[in-house]
């Protein structure tokens, strides 16, 4: 029945697109204070943004894999006394450099957008 009941594509899809290219930065940023494991990163993000930015683990793992492959994070397995093994990720020096670079790029982009969107416009 729900022919386009929850389609509402216009609304839902935008956020996904906006997140594009920002996720890598987000993850690097969340790793800045210290190491963390996959599931932890997911909940950290939800928590720190009050739920306004979220990812599922299925989204996160490919990102982490990319980061590892690029040498931006190092990986360590640890089995806690209680619970299943966890894979801890930690920024490398290159990762920190990348974090700084991406933060810069994101900020530049956001500023350009903000300036463009600012309605103020003195007569030409």
């Amino acid at each position: 029945m729900e022919k386009d009941g929850e389609r509402a594509e216009g609304r839902k899809g935008i956020e996904r697109e906006l997140k594009r290219g920002s996720l890598e930065l987000i993850v690097l940023h969340l790793l800045a204070p210290g190491e963390a494991y996959g599931y932890e990163i997911v909940s950290k993000l939800t928590e720190e943004t009050g739920g306004s930015l979220e990812v599922t683990d299925g989204t996160l793992y490919p990102v982490l894999y990319r980061l590892e492959r690029a040498g931006f994070v190092s990986v360590r397995w640890e089995t806690p006394q209680r619970g299943v093994p966890r894979k801890y990720y930690r920024l490398t020096a290159e990762g920190r450099a990348e974090l700084a670079a991406l933060t810069q790029e994101w900020t530049t982009f956001a500023k350009a957008m903000a300036k463009l969107l600012r309605p103020a416009r003195e007569g030409k």
Copy 2:
């Protein structure tokens, strides 16, 4: 031997990804003051952002087509006294509403990102 001579994957690709989902908003915004034709929009964007945000016409036309299809812009052909025919785009009422909605969504997203990235962190 240019193994990855001009690939420079990391750097070039990011901006493209960041633009994702923002282009539609950008175009709607550029149409807000009044109608414009395709090529004009391309140069308006380059001009207004001092070149920090750019699109090629091959990127723009699909966007315009989407907007037209969604009813956010109306279209009018005009052949100027000198030169080739031009296709002028103008915001519809729905287009204006969409512009407002997207601006809102973009701002919300940008604020969430900015807050996350802000390093300041008072001891909990």
